[in-house]
Symmetry: C2
Subunit: 330 residues, 2 copies
Amino acid sequence: MRQRLSTADYTAGIMAGDRIMLSQAITVTESRLHADKELAAAILKEILPHSGNALRIGITGVPGVGKSTFIESFGTYLTSLGKRVAVLAVDPSSQKSRGSILGDKTRMEKLAHNPMAYIRPSATGLFLGGIAKSTREIMLLCEAAGYDIILIETVGVGQSETLVKGITDFFLLLMLAGAGDELQGIKKGIMEMADAIAINKADGDNVPTAAIAVSTYQNALHLFPQSDSGFATEVLTCSALEENGMEEIWKLIQAFEKTTKENGFFDQNRQNQNLNWMHDRIRQSLEDRFYEHPDIKNKLKSLEKLVQDGAELPDAAARELLDIFIKNNA
Amino acid sequence: MRQRLSTADYTAGIMAGDRIMLSQAITVTESRLHADKELAAAILKEILPHSGNALRIGITGVPGVGKSTFIESFGTYLTSLGKRVAVLAVDPSSQKSRGSILGDKTRMEKLAHNPMAYIRPSATGLFLGGIAKSTREIMLLCEAAGYDIILIETVGVGQSETLVKGITDFFLLLMLAGAGDELQGIKKGIMEMADAIAINKADGDNVPTAAIAVSTYQNALHLFPQSDSGFATEVLTCSALEENGMEEIWKLIQAFEKTTKENGFFDQNRQNQNLNWMHDRIRQSLEDRFYEHPDIKNKLKSLEKLVQDGAELPDAAARELLDIFIKNNA
């Protein structure tokens, strides 16, 4: 049984940059126990005024593109500039590997031992919505603990990248040269979400192919609609392994930050993210109450079958279920 | 005051292909009056087994791309093959022009006088969700009335194209050559939704530019993720004005239909659309009840302001509102 400290203890510890207190507060935030939820809400309320000062960067790409190596290189580069860096992962697939909670740390060994960096392994045993909720709150805790840059890693194959896009300021897509096959795994729409694309593994024999990939993607992206940020998506190369290209990517992110802070997009985007977050939670809670209702559970499967087969109108089925729900809740 | 007929009268009339009865049933479906809603539900229940046999084609593009002229040409071409064609429009902006209910018919004068075609002007005075709901149901009514092909027109600048994509089998994006400026109005992600792109106005001096546009877009699209349909997005040219390219587009759509019926995507997609429709209605109804609640209305604005400014946690605000809602509904 883990011992709970007071809200004031956690808050003071986090604000002092105490990594153990930060880690414990994160564990409380991820917990599903009722007492922990109350405590987490109290801690978050206290640290809220001290959050929001970091630059939040989402990093995505299919498995094998080299995300961990990239974060190791990029994070190390950022700490060399005097930045304090926190690394979080949003990866629903990690539900499967409950045992490997140290997996993220061993993947980024150098950064894990860097006193300027803090790596939080993926939360396990949470559903997608739960992961997103806790990631957002963990980000706020890290900000209150004084981290300047939050790197949030996600696999670009499911829904998690949309969630990460929805809580970050800048979204970086890692890709490999030799377009075609490796794209199959990427979800539609993800390239249009990216603020920048970095062609990774641009080293050794890959250098010429990577250069071709850059111009091919640049040409393609010019055909696509302009981003709301007022910043055109750029494509560049890097080699996380050889630690090349980190400076260029950081300069690009800084240019994005400057442009969007000047044109107002940066603040507007964060305000919208906050509002969307609230409305998402409302929607999610309403749906949870509905779909978890025993009478709805009883009826849903058979109606879904009828609707799917076109034997019942979707509207009629929805009305029938809502009547059941309201009768038993009103 | 409009006179209401019985469910059986409407159903028989629609099944007999009576255009006046069809039009009246559509008006009932679009109505917000309680008695009409009951009647519409009854009619839809009756005709449901006779719906689903048409090919449903969504057509989108920015204003000025020539959607009406295209539908006039393409619809006329289809009727020349012996197909019965119904044309529906999903256009929330038509809310602004309540007076111009005949607008769509005058835009497509030839088709409007074609006995093989049925044009239903945009519903007016409905919010986006209402338009989508009635469009879907109107589509079913037209199918029961024996139309073989349903063309659904939408402007590709808002959210309506996502709705149309969600109720059609094939989604065609109309574009103009001379990429760049004219793309600014298109929403991000819309190109990735398209099953085919037709470069319209490929006539006169535009022919060479259009040919270049085709290869440019083809190259760009090859870089993007493959569609779930197993059918690669194609790009071709047409001139709605000169009635060129209609046969090629129809052949492409037929090839799509053949491929997706063979690989199972066609049926799977419709089943998913039905299910999504039901769950969308549930979600919408739950949210309507929530946001229309007077106690929520009272509290929402002030909480939104706090959340937007980062002074209140989105989660805490959502919880506060849900507590109010549940207390006053349970």
